[in-house]
């Protein structure tokens, strides 16, 4: 018996198909073609199916995820930047959304105009812990009440303000759920994320020129980054029948952004460490919009600098500006000569270092009357030693351990709690998002396929 299932990822550039047999837990084949969201998204899918020499009728089930047409674009609003705004942002990112704008405090008329112009797919409205501040979220609800584009709003703020906001927002499409930050030491992102996913399935797909595919498959289950996130959660946590891999990091190095995922508690490792700031979810995603291989190349250069890129690539720094400028204009360029390959590897390495560092927690040292004390903010990832790598630049990299090496803990910056060592597993066939979608239906098969298909990249030395 076989049970063939097709997973489709309508990406911003490529439509990827992954065919699996869930009975044996094996990958059958993968193929990809350009996404054709401007004309008819079914064309790109047909092209990919033709390449693989299959038709939709060959499969017992077809499931999909999508980041086409800009992905899931969300705006979030909270009260204090480091408290409810940050919690709202974490919740949206964790659901696989792209946070296009994050507001704090009371929304102004300018903000209102900006939201109108952005026209987000969803706005997440937060502010105040339960029983806490309600003037801010009530004010913001009034600002949103008669805003033109009828995007859905998720209310996940102070529960004491819920009834008032319900009245203020009675003419809008609002989903009400529990506060994302009910108390300062409790962050609750799961319910918000479920609602985001439900809205995505119901509304967003239609608005993105994706409705044509609804005729040929059941539904597009989630945004692509959400699917990648789900796959990593499955790999880390396992299923009822199979143990997972435990704590791990994931990185998706793309052309425009770099996504970092951690499935890790990141608790302090010593007794004299005090944890500060917002608690972070075990399963956390961050997105660096200014860090990427092509569209965000200059963001990497800006943070890293020519000198450092020259040192890593072994190229004379005088050559770099011209080379980088040509990479910046030729977005589709794939390095063919050794100099450009070395530069690309250096950019990839720096992109990983910057993105993983921003995701990682920090430790500050203080000399107090009671001796040496430490304050930790964010996750301590020093003992997390599994890295799942995906994204074109990493798939084709020659020496991945060298590229990853700059994202490791170093004595020269002991305050940055990066992993001390990392075993690298490469998503060679680009199946992470597909397995995240499959995980919703057959987690055991998805985990079995992931375990078979991820390739352990060993250090060459």
């Amino acid at each position: 018996m076989t049970h063939p299932v097709l997973l489709i990822d309508f990406g911003s550039t490529y439509t990827k198909i992954t065919a699996v047999d869930t009975d044996s837990g094996t990958l059958l084949q993968t193929a990809q073609s350009f996404t054709t969201v401007e004309t008819d998204i079914r064309d790109g899918l047909q092209n990919a199916l033709q390449k693989a020499d299959v038709t939709l009728e060959d499969f017992a089930a077809v499931y999909a995820c999508s980041s086409a047409a800009g992905g899931l674009r969300m705006a979030v609003s909270g009260l204090m930047p480091d408290l409810t705004s940050k919690a709202a942002r974490m919740a949206a990112l964790g659901a696989g959304a792209k946070v296009v704008r994050s507001f704090s405090h009371e929304l102004t008329q300018d903000d209102q105009e900006e939201i109108r112009a952005i026209a987000p797919d969803i706005l997440l409205l937060c502010g105040g812990t339960d029983g806490g501040n309600r003037t801010c979220i009530e004010h913001n609800a009034r600002v949103l009440a008669d805003l033109d584009p009828a995007f859905p709003i998720i209310f996940a703020g102070n529960r004491s303000a819920k009834d008032t906001c319900r009245t203020i927002l009675k003419d809008r499409n609002v989903y009400y759920c529990d506060n994302v930050l009910p108390a300062l030491d409790t962050i609750r992102v799961e319910e918000v994320q479920q609602i985001i996913r439900a809205i995505f399935q119901k509304n967003i797909v239609r608005g993105k020129g994706l409705s044509q595919v609804n005729e040929i498959l059941d539904r597009i289950a989630m945004p692509t980054p959400g699917a990648v996130h789900r796959a990593l959660e499955l790999l880390s946590g396992g299923t009822k029948n199979t143990k997972g891999w435990g704590e791990l990091l994931g990185v998706d190095l793309g052309g425009a952004t770099t996504d970092v995922y951690s499935m890790a508690a990141g608790d302090p490792q010593m007794a004299n460490v005090t944890l500060k700031g917002l608690p972070e979810p075990f399963s956390k995603r961050t997105v660096e919009g200014d860090i990427g291989m092509r569209y965000s190349l200059l963001g990497v250069v800006e943070e890293s600098g020519y000198e450092r890129l020259a040192e890593i690539s072994g190229l004379p720094s005088a050559q770099l500006p011209a080379m980088l400028a040509s990479l910046d204009t030729e977005k589709a360029y794939l390095p063919s000569d050794t100099a450009f390959a070395a530069l690309d590897a250096a950019v990839a390495s720096e992109a990983l270092r910057i993105a993983i560092s921003r995701h990682t927690g920090r430790l500050e040292e203080f000399y107090t009357p009671m001796g040496r004390q430490y304050l930790q903010t964010g996750k301590d990832l020093r003992t997390v030693n599994t890295l799942i790598a995906t994204g074109g630049a990493l798939l084709h990299a020659k020496d991945l351990p060298a590229i990853v090496s700059r994202a490791l803990y170093t004595e020269s910056d002991p305050s940055l709690l990066l992993p001390e060592t990392m075993e690298i597993w490469l998503d060679r066939n680009y199946i992470l998002s597909a397995m995240g979608v499959l995980a919703e239906h057959d987690p055991d098969a998805a985990l079995a396929i992931l375990t078979k298909e991820l390739v352990h990249v060993r250090n060459e030395q």
Partner: protein, 138 residues
């Protein structure tokens, strides 16, 4: 009606963790919704927490003698953050050495604190004072 929210913590580089937990327990028992920020709390953390929780009072604890330095400017920052009217309480061993309490109290009142509690004060004294200041009948 929602419970009254209070924010408490040990200010500065002070890591005395036991007393604040006792206060947390006592104020919770007395009917307040307590946001205990723990030890090594900065002025900014107190203020951010107070704004987000709409707290009626910030209770600052300090036991290592450097409280005077740590507390300076807190009232002004509250005013900047739009919560200039919030009650500020401070207690513990808030100054270096043994100084007459009346003088210490005067200095902290001048810094903008509403109530100053000497070493040895019980949690109940603070709770009763707070209820009076908030005009809650007990």
């Amino acid at each position: 009606m929602d419970k009254q929210q209070v924010v408490m913590g040990v200010i500065g580089a002070d890591v005395h963790a036991v007393g604040i937990r006792i206060l947390d327990y006592a104020y919770t028992e007395a009917g307040f919704s307590v946001h205990n920020l723990g030890v090594m709390v900065s002025q900014e953390e107190f203020i951010q927490a107070a704004v987000e929780t709409d707290a009626v009072c910030i209770l600052v604890s300090s036991l290592y003698g450097h409280g005077e330095l740590d507390c300076r400017g807190l009232r002004d920052k509250c005013r900047e953050a739009g919560i200039g009217d919030i009650l500020l309480y401070v207690g513990g061993n808030i100054v270096v050495g043994k100084q007459p309490f009346e003088e210490v109290e005067k200095r902290f009142l001048a810094m903008g604190f509403n109530r100053v509690f000497p070493p040895g004060s019980t949690p109940e004294e603070g709770i009763e004072t707070l209820k009076k200041d908030l005009q809650i009948s007990s």
